[in-house]
Symmetry: D2
Subunit: 451 residues, 4 copies
């Protein structure tokens, strides 16, 4: 790594999960757009062929004139090759197959448990954790061995459990988790400002927010744009759209659109209940509260304006991406260099000391969330500076939200400990503490069938 004026060259990055067609291309695009950084990307994936495709795609992008940041991509076959001496490690893996995920998400439906995502909490989240934690143990041990001073950015779900595993296995690690759900909530506030005040042209980073909670169950208790208090504006916004949902003018917007979209009605309902802005997609939020509220059955889900994303949809989407990858490799399709809206590259820039950055990340609790146990993974703002990511005090919840948060915090602690100790009975007991499960009548055999 070399500093040359205000640029940094020869940065080495390991990308674990580097065969990805989603996050992989995001990274390739965002790096190409950033003129101050350049270096090498080592792509590691259990699907080595997929890494090789991305090696070709990435290097082709670097050759383009409009690629301001120049990077050399290289598929590698071992964690050792990927990690030795790197400056950054990016982890974005799919733990297991979509077939496994299908079982995670849809088998519990037989017991009346519906899940809109199934990757964080609930039966789907816990099952995914069972697969993911051992993989993270392996990755962390390799980091400890080959690149102990690297900065590690995790994008994989279940986020809190993955980051917790990183720190449990290697407490001195420099790691945090990055998730875009809060960014989408900031975008909603931008849409609100247009809708309610006819203000346009706002950049996401000008929506200043205080964030508190755990990943996918975060909240905003302060939000401003210049002199405007967005919390009180949101109150009126919720009143306006509580019934219909906020659909950007098209009442059927969310129904006809992708499985990721929603009418924000869960978010609005949570505001009415608790007075804070829940800062994640409705599909995620719904899974953290009692299933009777928003996930009782498909009809209830529809009423609340969101989707139970079927894993078949993911499979279909995956197929399309693979076809696209082939075209990109063959040169049958051109890679479009466009900003993704993701923030990983900007975060690396800040860690390299090129600019201060304040953004939300998932880190061990040092006290940034008052009353939360030490070291559990929480999501709050942090200050990024050269070789330094420091959480910013976020405050505390009212006791009733704190209770809901703690249920998941303690359950995630239980799951990590259980898997690290290979204690299946403990997993079983954690499973029964999950709010999506509490309402269901499962006997021991039912649970054993699910997990």
């Amino acid at each position: 790594m070399k500093y040359r004026k205000d640029k940094v060259e020869d940065i080495n990055i390991a990308y674990i999960g580097g065969g990805s067609n989603g996050w992989g291309w995001t990274l390739i695009g965002d790096l190409a757009l950033e003129e101050k950084l350049s270096g090498n990307i080592r792509l590691y994936d259990i699907d080595y062929d997929a890494s090789c495709n991305n090696e070709i795609i990435g290097n082709n992008v670097t050759k383009k004139c409009n690629a301001k940041g120049k990077w050399a991509y290289k598929a590698v076959k071992t964690l050792k090759e990927a990690l030795t001496g790197v400056d950054f490690v990016l982890i974005s893996i799919l733990p297991g197959t979509f077939d496994e995920m299908e079982s995670d998400v849809h088998l519990p439906e037989q017991y009346g448990i519906y899940q809109s995502v199934g990757d964080t909490v609930g039966p789907g989240g816990i099952n995914r954790a069972l697969r993911t934690i051992p993989m993270f143990v392996e990755i962390t041990e390799a980091i400890k061995k080959y690149s102990p001073n690297a900065w590690v950015i995790n994008f994989t779900n279940p986020m809190s459990i993955c980051v917790r595993t990183l720190y449990k296995v290697f407490p001195e690690i420099h790691a945090y988790g990055c998730c875009h759900e809060v960014f989408h909530t900031q975008q909603l506030l931008i849409d609100m400002l247009k809708d309610m005040k006819n203000i346009t042209g706002i950049k996401r980073e000008d929506i200043k927010v205080n964030i508190l909670g755990i990943n996918h169950f975060t909240w905003l208790d302060e939000a401003t744009y210049q002199g405007i208090d967005l919390i009180s504006l949101y109150e009126k916004f919720v009143d306006k759209y509580y019934k219909e949902g906020f659909t950007k003018g098209d009442l059927n917007f969310w129904i006809n659109s992708s499985y990721w979209d929603s009418a924000e009605k869960v978010k609005f309902d949570l505001f009415k209940r608790y007075g804070l802005i829940a800062a994640a997609g409705d599909r995620h939020l719904a899974e953290f509260v009692p299933s009777s509220w928003y996930l009782k059955d498909p009809k209830t889900v529809e009423k609340w304006g969101f989707h139970l994303t079927p894993v078949s949809w993911r499979k279909e989407h995956k197929k399309e991406l693979i076809e696209k990858a082939i075209k990109l490799v063959n040169g049958k399709e051109e890679f479009e260099i466009e900003p993704s809206g993701e923030e990983g590259v900007r975060q690396m820039k800040a860690i390299l000391g090129l600019e201060d950055l304040i953004t939300n990340v998932n880190l061990p609790n040092l006290g940034q969330l008052t009353d939360f146990p030490k070291n559990v993974i929480v999501e709050t703002n942090a200050l990024f500076r050269k070789n330094s990511v420091k959480p910013i005090a976020a405050g505390s919840f009212s006791k009733e939200i704190h209770n809901m948060e703690m249920t998941h915090v303690l359950n995630q602690e239980t799951v990590v400990e259980a898997v690290l100790n290979e204690d299946i009975e403990k997993v079983f007991r954690a499973f029964l503490n999950d709010p999506l499960v509490i309402g269901a009548s499962l006997d021991r055999n039912d649970v054993l069938r699910i997990i």
Copy 2:
């Protein structure tokens, strides 16, 4: 108060709820049996006539030759008269009427929520808290004014919430809560020693236990009798009686007996799940866990060998007691001086410095329960000495039980804060966090009807 050799004379006690036919008579009997203490009891009750009856009954007992402790009873009309300058304050009140309790316990049955007691958590516990907290605010303020140095022993439910209110209103108070549920569990261990080892004649205080948890949801993680480890013996005992329940030889014992009895099957099931001895009656324990486990419906309750104590039963029982009171006052019936098995008198003796005592009490957490928030009310062992009640370190739970305990701890904190701030919305939100409620599908109107 005067110390004379190893006796203490002229002790002054205020008894709030002094018209009681249950605890009142227990106290009269236990005091009469204790030769080292004597003094005056001031009986205060919103039912002044009931206090007057107890004044007569108490003074009659004092006249008996076999009453070794001599006490003068006096009904008083105001808290000021009751409290001014006393050494001890005993609080044992019934907050509200049995009609109100009937609504607490049975109205939620319309929504599929069954409660076996309904005085601690769940809809019944929360409703009872709404009535009780304001009464305790009034009592505490009077204690602060009239007897700030007195030792205050609370026997009223919901225990944790009552003791928390005492400390919230008057943080310097000398107060704790006393509950007999652990004593009954020690009795079960005595029965077990007879059943499994044919050892008899054991006194309760020789069953040494470590206690941790919150009132009615406490656990034993250490239990010994002389050299014998009772936890491992209990494991075999549970195996022996898991299916049938432990019924002291009569398979229908608990069915035919009073509404208070059970076959201990909930306790045995909790041991199988968590490896600790749950240390309260099954009727209480069942209310702290998801309703689908033991309280799904009356049939499930029956299967688990306990009762849904109907409030009509309490009403009937109350009538009998009132009739008995009249007879005792009239002299138509003789008061039997018998040890009650309760411990209040012995605790007072220890606080007066006449003997060391180690027993379980409800106190603010100073650290005796690791990982529990400071100041919430927990139940652990404490050391009683002259003018001193000090909690003994109890250790910590595995994370999965900790999670279940915290749900209630934080909900109780929410309820106390909500009532002290008169915030009905907060009560509403606490209500929805209760495990008995989570499984039910209640809309806002349903909840408002219940609370």
Copy 3:
């Protein structure tokens, strides 16, 4: 207060100690230079005439063409008039007279206790606290009554004790303490970069630092300029100047210059001892460690390249300022509008939402300093945003520095508690815990003579 585009008008500020000739003129100048803010300043001082002088001086400045920020100054006679409805409260008072300070600082010299400043710790700091805390109680009660939502910025010493008193009296206050000592340390790092690397033209805010400690006994454990690690550069810098001191080329610089200057040798010695950059003036730092190190006697002080600022010097300096004030009022001298290097105005701008600001402030510890007690006042970085000042996690000290810091933290807690409870014995005991006093042999009468 009105927001108009990116400007804020009609801001109301109360300035407690508004007759000041030092900080007062600093503020007048800095406000005149800031074009985005305007409004009214109410000057309150126990020396009303001095406020009136500043009213004239301030309003004259506003009339100048080069005054971009327009402010109306008004001397007021009561705290009520000063505070009612203001947006900001600035507190910069001199607690007591220079005669009193003379006794604080020089009387202990009779017992072999030498103090270089005497306003923070040691006999001088404790005596000053005895005078200051009651004044702050009065001011805080007035803020609570007349402007409970205002942002309160304290500049008065002893800083930690003043801010602690603000929060003790009114826990919901929005207050923090601002001190420029860290800024001077950043300037030293700028001088170092010129000296060691020949880099010039660096702005203070581009020296990025992590700050931890308590006011006047703060340390930097991270410091960077762009890609350069300033901690390792400082190590070489210390080696270069350890013997002679860093005197900007003039070996006698600090001797001939003002009583505020030093040769930085204390700072360099502390770096050699602990490996961190102490971030306050040497005169302050020397008072926090055992007196035998740097303050044994005047000869030792001279050897370490700093001054025992005599209070006579302060008196003389004060006279000059008063003469200058008369000239400014008379128009015999022109007010020079120049940036002061202080940060108060920029902080207000950030609190008004006009820009993000990260800077060091004195705030109650919420966890930003690991292992420090909750709520004691610590100095770390904080993030300033609209209506929000949030501490940033600063980490922790090695145990040996932690010990030295805790001695003062706990002593300051003792002093505040003692004065609030009017417990002179407790002050006496705190006094004997101070490192400057521990080495001295004082009997009770000696101490009573000093305090």
Copy 4:
């Protein structure tokens, strides 16, 4: 180990330091007096011959008719032989030689630092720690390997540092530290009751005390005998004897008596300063506070009625003991079986479940001392029961004592960490934080000469 009725047979004990002529004989005597216990003692010592002597002495005692407890003593040559499979490990070693101790205690006198004991804090304590910690690391690792479930009782000084090392090296260890200084303070209270109230025949265990602090710097804030408050009685007692000291009727008692005795004047002065009863010998207490108070010079020491125990005295005393050992082995002298006043045997009895015991011990802080860091070693009451030693909540200090305690707590933490990490610079820095050192003017070379 076998339980037979109310006796326990075949107990295996390892005695590390088993060649001791002091504690060794104490143990032999006390075990012989206890009829409920019997078994085997393995004596391990780096001086194997001394162990062999004690083997002979111990087995001779067992043969005596008045030896109710029968024990077989065996000298062993390795830690492995000593520890494998034992139930208890007793550690009572002299770390280093008396020549080394002479340097610890008397060399600092050249710099004006006088020490009355020199085994806990100050230069002597820190030097002793440097020798002791590595020995304890070795012992603890052997315990972890050969007897991980044994109960480990430490009698070695520096107590806090030894126990801390046990837990640092093997966190799951069952260990505590036992010290008799509080017992002596209880004895003083018995003497006081005779002197002030003419009450005689009191047993030590009937003096009920609450203990808080760290070893040799502990305090009593509650003390009662039956109905009598001993704190207020002590106030009068101090007034009576403050000037002369308490010398049991003989004004020159302490001067003519052994180097261990004192006139209790330090203790009385500390009571006048802080209102609590300091609960250790004056020689120990004096070393924890600034040296100017009681240890300024030999004259000051004399004025305060205690001794600077010279190491030459220890050497002399040691010689006498060795001579006595030879006589005991030869049969030239008869071993007198007498109760020692020590409590180790009674504690073992309680841990075996034969009786409840409440006594003061040194344990990691779980919260028994409010505001002290977690896990540092503190001395408070604990409850001993079968296989269980649980600290009892002791409360907290006023802030000024807390500050004095914390100085030592944090310094001990620093020393342990420094030695475990072999960081001599850190030891150096800890040394300079000690109150006995702060007052002295030591340069780097002085310190290096001492440590």
